[in-house]
Amino acid sequence: MKISIDQHELQRGLARLQSVTEKRNSMPILANILIQVREVDDGGELELAATDLEVGIRSQHSCEVAESGAITVSGKKFYEIIRELPDERVEIATTENAYLSIRCARSEFSLAGSAADEYPTLPVFSPERTFQVQAMVVGEMIEKTMYAASNDEARYNLNGVYLEQIEEAGKLRMVATDGHRLAYVDRSFGSSLEGFADGVIVPRKGLSELKKLVDEDDTHELELGFEGNNGLARKGGVTLTLRLIEGEFPNYRNVIPEEGSQRLVVDRERFVQALRRVSLLSSERSRAVNLEFSSGEVSLTSKNPDLGEARETLDVDFAGESLVIAFNARYLMEALNAPGTKEICLSFKDALSPIRVTPTDDDDVLGVVMPMRV
């Protein structure tokens, strides 16, 4: 293998793989990346690939090829070297005993690697049907739901975001829950969702890679496809393969409360800031903050036997019965912030029922948070 390629192109490709290369030493080869070079019709193609067996990333880069071939080397070291090189042409080539030689300007490195066939095969799969969606919209949906997914390994079926097509043709829903709160977003993609019948659970890790891919340049279209336990996302020359979560997503529709009898609209920023201040003195473990609603105002209070107490009162348009509800401050703040709008509507029934957190101007975004008992 012997090629020459622009330094910044190579650096961009390697940077993308860093979060997938395994840092733990459970399987040392997974700290490596796979480098493959082939000659194609219009010149040469370098393919960089890495997997942690859950998520795989493959990217194609054009280059000048003198000799095709393949090798696997430490993803981190290769990236660190390339990152420090000047923005010029870089020549890389395999040498005796699976070393990778790197030359750029007057620098020269010889990096120890291994034969390419020692690297696990990345799943190559091409779903029968894929659909095109706007990358920007997918990014927005991930942002507004992923926070509610669970980190609890024991609840593996909640460790991701559920994607399903909802009744209305062309509308995709993303929904996530950790059993204490829930979030969903519906977005319309026109008729491009044809063939996306069954719901899938995409794990957090895969989603955050997808989000990064989208964020690189969100003006593009994204190609998505699912089949069996695998998912695929393609954008530009980058392909992401995702192992889906096998399991059943709970029947979340049953736990979404109706609009409650008690209702108010708050200024998101003011409310979140007050929550943040008051939660400073909430107990470290529970993070409980009380919301004391009364006519025209809500007082946020917290209490910690070791530290003291805090209270802050906000004027709000509340006209219902007086009531105290306790929440984990973080859950409430995340639900308030996720929609990204200026005003948020809160609606609830009583102190032990879930609260609905919705933007005032978008019926397709919803957060639900279960209160705490204190």
Binding site: S150, D152, R155, H180, R181, V255, R285, L352, V368, M370
Partner: protein
Amino acid sequence: MPPSRVILHADMDAFYASIEQRDDPALRGRPVIVGGTGPRGVVSAASYEAREFGVYSAMSSAEARQRCPQGVFLRGSMRRYAAESRRIFEVFQRFTPLVQGLSLDEAFLDLSGSERLQGAPVQVGERLRAEVRAETGLAVSVGIAPVKLVAKIASDLAKPDGLLEVAEGRVRDFLAPLPLRRLWGVGAVGEKRLHEAGFATLGDLAGADRSELETRFGDFGAHVSRLARGEDDSPVEPGRAPVSYSEENTFERDISEREVLESVISQHAEAVARRLRRSGLQARTVFLKLKLARRVAAGPRGYPLLTRRSTLAEPSDDGATFARVARRLLRDAKLEQPVRLLGVGVSNLLRADRGQLGLFPVEEGEARSGRLNRAMDEIAERFGADKLVRGDAAHAGRAGLSMQHKRGESETPD
């Protein structure tokens, strides 16, 4: 000689079942059975009336129905029991600030030096019993003695709805006929060893020469010798609620078999979980403590000590959950030498009746393990913790569990 103390031990009678009977007048005098009501449910508590029909905990609900068709079957609520516990402890607090809670329904009170103010200990005890009954409608049995151990035994013997005082000079006579298992720290193994050495009662132990017992059984010998004579100077410690619970033991021989270590983990995890449930608590952090067999320095502290911990995403009071985490900690520790001591503990404790509510109804699996735990608690309470073990704790017998079993309840995180 230190001034003599007056320790009162208060223990509620058939706590859960009594609450149910009190709250529903229609249940009074009737056999009440708390437990799973489904086709595969088991009984987790039976009132005295139900026991007369031969209904006991851990019996299948179906069989209980056969034996006692007129029984009232209920599911029970830990939250209500915990709320009741708070009311009872408020009553205890009126008698002295020195109240040490042992669980939801049990506490030590130190009444030393309050005689002139409050009257004779027996009168105080009767007043406490009357006030608990007036406030809550529930019966509590009371034991009074100069030391904690004896007060606790006395309240047990006073049941149901009674009071027993063991005066200063009567302690040794009181203890003498009792079986060895009455002592703190004497489990099945310790009892067997003592039986084999010819000791049958506490009187036998009290009469034996202490230095001889110590030579023969080490610290354990000295410990039982003191207790059997009613020498227990442990104070009533009100303090704050404990921040960690643990169970550990030193093996009689060093252990390297993985399945034995895992069995012992299960046993300790179950014991810790049982204590948590009795206290109405849940824990978020599980820790595993290992003392390795190869000494690196002279003296008893010369063995390398490893502590590994892991925090759960959700607080739990389930022994199987704690065991699973502790077994993973054991695997991750990648031990290369035998183990001399193994302990399992939990910290980061929260009250079970508070906290984050769930969005989804309790899943069937969780509900089932909750029912199983309640049934196991009942059995442990009635017959002793060693009478029922989970299948995964079955290898523990092979460890030759030593007599040095230690229960920890620490107020500082370790």
